[in-house]
Amino acid sequence: MPERVLAFGVCLFLLAAAGCATAQEAVKGGVFRYAAIDEAPTLDQHVVTSDLATTIAQHIFEGLYTFDANYTPVPMLAESTDVQEDGKLVVIKLREGVKFHNGKELDAEDVIASLNRWGKFGTRGPVLFEHIAKLEADSKYVVKIYFKEPFAPWQNLLAFINGGPVIYPKDVVEKAEAKPIPETEYIGTGPYRFVERNPGRYILLARFDDYKGLAGPANGYAGERKAYFDEIRFIPVPDVGTRVNGVKAGDYDYAEQIPGDLFESLKSDPSVKTIVNQGSIQGFIFFNSKDGIMKDNYKLRQAILVATKMDMVLRAAIGPEELWDANGSFMPEVTPWYSKAGLEKYNRGDVELAKKLAKEAGYNGEKITFMVSSSYRMHYDSCMVIAKQLSEAGFNIDLQIYDWATLVSKRSDPKQWDMFFTHHGFVPDPILFTFMSDTYPGWWATDRKASLKKPFIETMDQSKRIEIWSKIQELIYEEVPVAKTGDIYMYDIYSPKVQGLSEMSLIWPKLWGLSFK
């Protein structure tokens, strides 16, 4: 009996010890191996919008603001913000004592030089800089932005790191100008520093021990950014079978972008864990507003829109229903921008109505050139279904399949196409949708769009902006510059020995706050 009591006591002790171990604070150490779908191009966030580049770069570089879990912009390198003169002047106080990876302290000169380069040569910078009169350093830690007129989305644009205004040291950006910043000068303020790129093998980051991050619990991309791993290796593993097998075999700790058809089996596999991305991507059919059969022919575009049954497209291209949502609102439900305006034309699959509208549009079976890329499986699969639905509704679809580089080159010539397919990443402000730019291929630039876009960007009152966006969405369903297929949620897998991966915002997995068990 005493032996049994003793054994029971020992068991209780061991269980308590195990409980304590699981509740233990995460410890530093280890090399995290991230199996990526490809190699990233330059990590210079000013010039590229590649999702993979952002996934890696967000650990190295930071901007003035970032997004919390509610997609609200909050300070990152900024400490406080004061909007004055009815929105025409923004005074930003920087956090003091923030160090770059080269040991230099961040100051207003670095911020101004970085923002100026982003505004001049950056991918998304000109959207903001069209409205900026000048930038000024008020002191070592204070930056002033003078706007020509109030420009409401300024903080969202400064917080969006993808193609966004990360802050480099002044001398780095002044040397680089339009050229991507060389690897030797990937110097940021983030929790990890760039060590090396070995083409085909990895991009290596190491923990930055002098990192001065935000205080407070992690909240979306905001809050503390605790770096536990000694190193992170981003390894290009293009074959999905290899990424899955690699995590199962213990060769990788994390693998991104796994196809939908494996979702069910991986969810029940004890050797891996799945995580579905909160931020959706969206499939878009772009229509040519500049030339050809679609130019100014809104009825024909509406006919094409009502002919498509988007849930069939999504089911075929993505698979399990947990990974897609036949949502016609351009902004997802989790954002305040969600709107049902114009949705009566979405996801109809109404062949008769499509034929009627096409007839009213004067369509007589003319060839409609529809370009799609074979480089993205989701694009190709979606377009196979769309083309079939359109053919059944009587449209003469000439489906042209190219590799991505060729498609991008061809779509810049309005004479070569009528429709093309692509996808769009999550954006926190609708002004960042590519079709909101008059110069993006598709060239949607009508007077009605302009009359709504002006108050949309100049109104500082957020509730009014949301109302105007709803009207813009209604106009989109009327003039149909693009047709949205739906929201698509990518999912990734990771090793059960990784802890801390509880939620993800936007679309770029962040590896701070993670550690090995």
């Binding site: 083409p199 290899t242 060729t406 991008v408 080159s409």
Partner: protein, 315 residues
């Protein structure tokens, strides 16, 4: 012999020059732009143009060619547009994998293919020959990605004997045990290629076995093993060596599927990825290196003929 080698080496120069013109012009005729690929979907035409100018891609093709050629004459293959590193460095980092893959696979191919081919020919039409021929037909027909993924699943995921993918550099780390990363890929490559060498060895041996000098050797009462090794195998080796030479170059330059399945940083994958990215300097550099490699292997194979068959002389 020496003057022959010198002549052959000199004759490579115009061939390489011609190859450089063809490669350069063909690549620049393909639609697509590296600046567009790099900047991504959101870039405006103005930003693409800015980057094209910064990279010198806005200049006429012939100007770009002259700049590239003058760089080559100075030993500079230019910089990768995608990696922002010298092309020589990018190729060198990938060449290590490809050369190790080629060497290990070649050893496996020769060790498996030649003895089985010889055995098959010696046991011509027996059940052994038929079994070996069927097996070689099977391995010659199996898709590489299927074989690779299955080997990976069995030996990496289930048994955990070998790593599933990747290849950490042996040269950089000095760690020769990293070669274990290449065992599964090399087995994947060796299977179909060994099957081809088995069939080639068998047919070459059978051709020689029927020749008069073999019959004479047998009539003289020489032991059978001596006839097979000295009189048959040595003569059959000429075609086997040719095949092995070109298999080697193919393994260095074109094992795209295996490199992709096992996520190996090799030359084959680099070629395909560079074409998709329109990374002109890398594509041009690699193709020139592969053309040069083909020429050198061709020369070595030709020289080996004289060694294998004393009747062949180069002057």
């Amino acid at each position: 012999m020496l003057s022959y080698v010198i002549r052959r080496v000199l004759s490579m120069i115009p061939s390489l020059f011609l190859a450089s013109i063809i490669v350069f012009s063909f690549i620049h005729f393909i639609p697509g732009d590296p600046a567009v690929v790099m900047l991504g979907d959101m870039a405006t035409p103005e930003q693409v143009q800015q980057l094209r100018e910064a990279l010198g891609l806005d200049r006429p093709v012939y100007v770009q060619y002259i700049r590239w050629l003058s760089g080559i004459l100075r030993g500079d293959l230019g910089n990768s547009i995608f990696f922002h590193q010298p092309v020589t460095r990018v190729i060198a980092s990938r060449a290590e994998t490809s050369i190790f893959i080629a060497l290990i696979s070649m050893a496996l191919i020769a060790l498996i293919g030649i003895p089985i081919g010889v055995l098959s020919a010696v046991k011509y039409n027996s059940w052994i020959d038929q079994a070996l021929s069927s097996l070689s037909m099977f391995f010659a027909s199996v898709p590489t990605f299927w074989l690779g993924l299955n080997l990976m699943f069995i030996f990496a995921v289930m048994l955990r004997w070998f790593p599933s993918s990747g290849f950490p550099s042996v040269i950089e780390s000095g760690n020769w045990s990293n070669l274990r990363y290449l065992i599964l890929p090399c087995l994947t490559l060796a299977a179909p290629n060994s099957a081809l060498i088995i069939r080639l060895t068998r047919s070459s041996m059978l051709d020689v076995i029927r020749e008069d000098h073999v019959r004479t050797a047998r009539a003289k009462g020489l032991p059978e093993w001596k006839i097979i090794l000295k009189h048959v195998f040595r003569n059959a080796l000429i075609s086997i060596v040719s095949a092995l030479g070109f298999t080697f170059v193919a393994l260095v330059s074109g094992t795209v599927v295996t490199e992709t399945v096992f996520s190996l940083p090799g030359i084959g994958r680099l070629v395909v990825e560079s074409i998709l990215r329109r990374d002109y300097p890398v594509i041009q550099g690699i193709i020139l290196v592969i053309v040069l490699l083909y020429m050198l292997i061709n020369l070595l194979v030709d020289l080996s003929y004289a060694f294998l068959d004393p009747r062949i002389k180069y002057s």
